[in-house]
């Protein structure tokens, strides 16, 4: 295996260091200049040198919530194109949601996804198993068999749909305790969101679009944290979108309930005012909310109430978005822009430093999903899963350059800061100078 010397990068945004990688492992970190030539006894000879002054070195990012669409909707994304997009965005591991066709509700399907991830070589893919058969919310899927499979599934979710039956949710929470699993809930009370197309409020009233009330999310979260407490299990809440949800999670944590939560980059930046354009690129589940919600979500991510940023990368082909609002698919791609949005909304606002970003986008998601080898410190002896970011970069988002098969980004034409210059997966550069290797 080859050696890589990253010279002068600010590790987690701290002091400039040199980091030497040999094979799949970080073998040394030292003050700038010490590895390269003297003092450590380690030789950087033969190493590929990455000059990284002014850049931030982070542990490889981990996305707990990605839709790779394979099997079944390969016109939107495949494991290969999705993992290429992930690498471009600085990710070294992604958790692939179960709402594929067929649904990932058996050991066979999750092993297929896991194997495709292995073959892709750009990013580790950890499949998420469905909680219920066919995402129908009626009968538990073979949770244990999926955990026992080669994929070693640890996260279970019917994402895209809510496990709205309280008994099924309770049983799932109880059952996964046997193997340390976690249920990731898409909190959406179905009756309260029938016909819903956007956040319920001032804008929906004007536009005549079906309203998606905040309470539809909050009531399920409230129920589920209480269920988790009752059965002594852990629950993870997907894509929080309202200030009220934040308050419930904050209360649950203060009570000692084992709950974790995620927020998407787009819910940290965009509001329902954008829906006035009726441009389906802004149609997403849960919907874009108000400025008040956005500020509450940022605050909660900063203070740790919300544990992680997860992309909810949801690729769709052009024709599924180039239509009237009501007919459009919900979701937006996010892997390739996530870090930039987090830099803009959290770092440049002073709410998080880069160490905080490392926690919310690598350490914590790896911990929640039990992703072996990811979310580890940037120190000697650790797996060389790393991301290098140039925070001074400013660029206008052009989806034509995306590695994802789909282009449904809400950021087209918008200037965003930061750029992933290098992504390293177990010692191999998957992105070099901003381009896929």
């Amino acid at each position: 295996m080859s050696k890589i010397l990253i010279r002068g990068a600010q590790v987690l945004g701290g002091e400039a260091q040199d980091v030497l990688i040999d094979g799949e492992t970080i073998v040394a970190t030292a003050r700038q200049g010490e590895i390269d030539g003297s003092g450590t006894g380690l030789s950087a000879e033969g190493a590929t040198v990455i000059e990284a002054e002014g850049q931030i070195l982070l542990p490889g990012l981990v996305d707990l919530h990605t839709h790779l669409r394979e099997p079944g909707r390969e016109d939107s994304e495949t494991v290969l194109t999705g993992t290429r997009a992930a690498a471009s965005g600085g990710y070294t591991a992604v958790f692939a949601m179960a709402n594929t066709h067929p649904v990932a509700d058996t050991a066979g399907v999750v092993e297929q996804v896991w194997r495709l991830g292995k073959e892709s070589g750009y990013c580790d893919v950890q499949p998420i198993g469905a909680v219920t058969v066919g995402l129908e919310g009626k009968k538990l899927a073979e949770l244990g068999a999926m955990n026992d499979s080669a994929a070693g599934v640890t996260v279970f979710s019917d994402d895209g749909k809510c496990v709205d039956d309280a008994v099924i949710m309770r049983r799932a929470l109880e059952y996964v305790k046997a193997f340390g699993g976690v249920v990731a809930q898409h909190a959406q009370e179905p009756r309260l969101t029938e016909g819903a197309q956007m956040n319920e409020g001032i804008v929906s009233a004007e536009l005549g679009l079906g309203g998606w009330p905040a309470v539809a999310e909050e009531s399920i979260i409230a129920r589920d944290v209480l269920l988790a407490e009752h059965v002594g299990s852990r629950v993870h809440i997907c894509h929080l979108s309202t200030a009220g949800s934040v308050e419930i999670v904050r209360w649950a944590k203060s009570r000692g309930i084992d709950v974790t939560a995620e927020v998407t980059p787009h819910h940290l930046l965009l509001t329902d005012e954008l829906v006035r354009s009726y441009n389906p690129v802004y149609k997403v589940n849960p919907p874009l909310r108000t400025e008040k919600d956005v500020l509450a979500l940022r605050e909660a991510l900063a203070d740790g109430t919300i544990d992680i940023v997860a992309t909810d990368h949801a690729p769709h082909p052009h024709e599924d978005k180039d239509c009237e609002w009501a007919a459009a698919a919900m979701g937006m791609v996010g892997l390739e822009t996530a870090l930039s949005v987090v830099q803009q909304t959290m770092v440049e606002t002073g709410l998080l430093d880069w160490a905080g970003v490392a926690d919310r986008m690598s350490f914590a998601p790896a911990r929640i999903g039990r992703a072996t080898g990811h979310g580890r410190p940037v120190s000697a002896g650790e797996p060389a899963n790393l991301t290098l970011v140039d925070p001074a970069y400013r660029g206008v988002v052009d989806p034509a350059g995306f590695a994802s098969r789909s282009r449904n980004t809400p950021y087209e034409g918008r200037e965003l800061p930061g750029r992933v210059t290098h992504t390293i997966l177990r010692g191999r550069a998957t992105v070099v100078d901003g381009k896929l290797a």
Binding site: Q197, E200, G201, I202, V203, S204, A205, E206, L207, G208, L209, G211, P213, S277, Y278, N279, E319, D322, C323, E324, W325, A326, A327
Partner: protein
């Protein structure tokens, strides 16, 4: 004058008054033996109806034919749309066929806006009702009817509805007519009150330029016009209100309630009416009820809108006169 007519909220006071004044001129055409102007001769207008509608489609068609336009009627049922063709594909087909304007009715809120702004088609777009969003020509014909009745046919020219008190009653939540009317009537200076059970008032309504009341009886004596909205029977099971009977008792307009209105006040309805529930036959058939006038006025308004979008930007006072001159040549 704007390029498209998508929302009543897009109209300025001057735009709206221009349309009303132009419609007044157009209405004179209806009084003639030959109800036709040559204004849009050689222009092709497509009525693109993705949602069932009888009166609105016929009204537009009558308006278009009175302006001598060539008319294409497109109904989505039984068309390529039912085979899965998208709005974009349909629009581009019409563009390729060279239509000069598209009148669109669609079940999805925002569909006309997308059609007008997505570059799928260049022609002007007139919204003939989209989902629960807007129905601007309905609002214009309602305002036209109110101005005629409350201000006067000739006295109203150049005037708005400043200070008039208008009450809209019923299913505001699902009503594009209510949204359009609130926007336009406010622009025209009227004071608007919405009366409905709380379940049929949209969350977020507090920013609308109107008052909200749950008590019809208290509002009636202060109303110059009361517009009853259609309650969709199919929504009855969604628990918006307990029973038809209870709705009728609290929000229906009968003779006793009409008696509480000022003598000059009128009763309106965009149709189709649910007699016995929203409005009793006694009220619907009274002289104060303007339903039939509203239908007639709809043609004049739609003629005015199409004329102004396609025919020219002359002032209302002169434009149709010019066309009359042309006709007499």
């Amino acid at each position: 004058m704007m390029r498209h007519l998508i929302s009543a909220a897009d109209l300025t006071r001057d735009d709206a008054v221009l349309i009303l004044d132009t419609a007044e001129e157009m209405a004179r055409v209806a009084d003639r033996p030959i109800k036709k102007l040559p204004t849009l001769r050689g222009r092709t207008i497509c009525n693109l109806f993705f949602e069932d509608s009888t009166r609105t489609r016929i009204s537009f068609e009558a308006a278009e034919k009175r302006l001598s336009a060539d008319v294409i009627n497109f109904a989505a049922k039984g068309s390529s749309v039912s085979k899965g063709e998208s709005l974009k594909d349909t629009a581009q087909t019409l563009e390729a066929m060279g239509v000069d304007a598209v009148v669109i009715r669609h079940g999805a809120s925002g569909a006309p806006y997308r059609l007008a702004t997505s570059g799928w088609i260049d022609a002007p777009v007139v919204n003939a009702g989209d989902g629960t969003h807007q129905h601007p020509t309905q609002a214009l014909l309602d305002a036209f009817t109110m101005r005629r009745r409350l201000v006067g046919r000739d006295e109203g020219l150049g005037k708005d509805l400043n200070g008039r008190r208008i009450t809209l009653v019923g299913d505001v939540l699902h009503s594009r007519v209510a949204r359009s009317n609130v926007d336009l009537l406010h622009t025209l200076g009227a004071e608007v009150t919405l009366v409905a059970p709380p379940t049929l008032v949209p969350v977020g309504v507090e920013t609308w330029p109107c008052e909200i009341s749950y008590d019809l009886d208290s509002v009636l004596p202060k109303s110059d016009a009361v517009m009853m909205l259609r309650v969709q029977r199919e929504r009855m099971n969604a628990a918006f209100f307990p029973t038809e009977r209870e709705y009728s008792r609290r929000y229906g307009l009968d003779g006793d309630r009409m008696a509480k209105m000022p003598e000059h006040a009128i009763v309106m309805h965009p149709g189709p009416m649910v007699r016995g529930m929203e409005i009793t036959a006694e009220v619907a058939d009274s002289d104060r009820c303007t339903v039939i006038e509203q239908v007639a006025n709809g043609v004049s308004i739609r003629m005015a809108v199409l004329y102004l979008l396609l025919g020219g930007n002359d002032s209302a006072a002169t434009a149709p006169s010019t066309t009359r001159t042309e006709e007499s040549k």
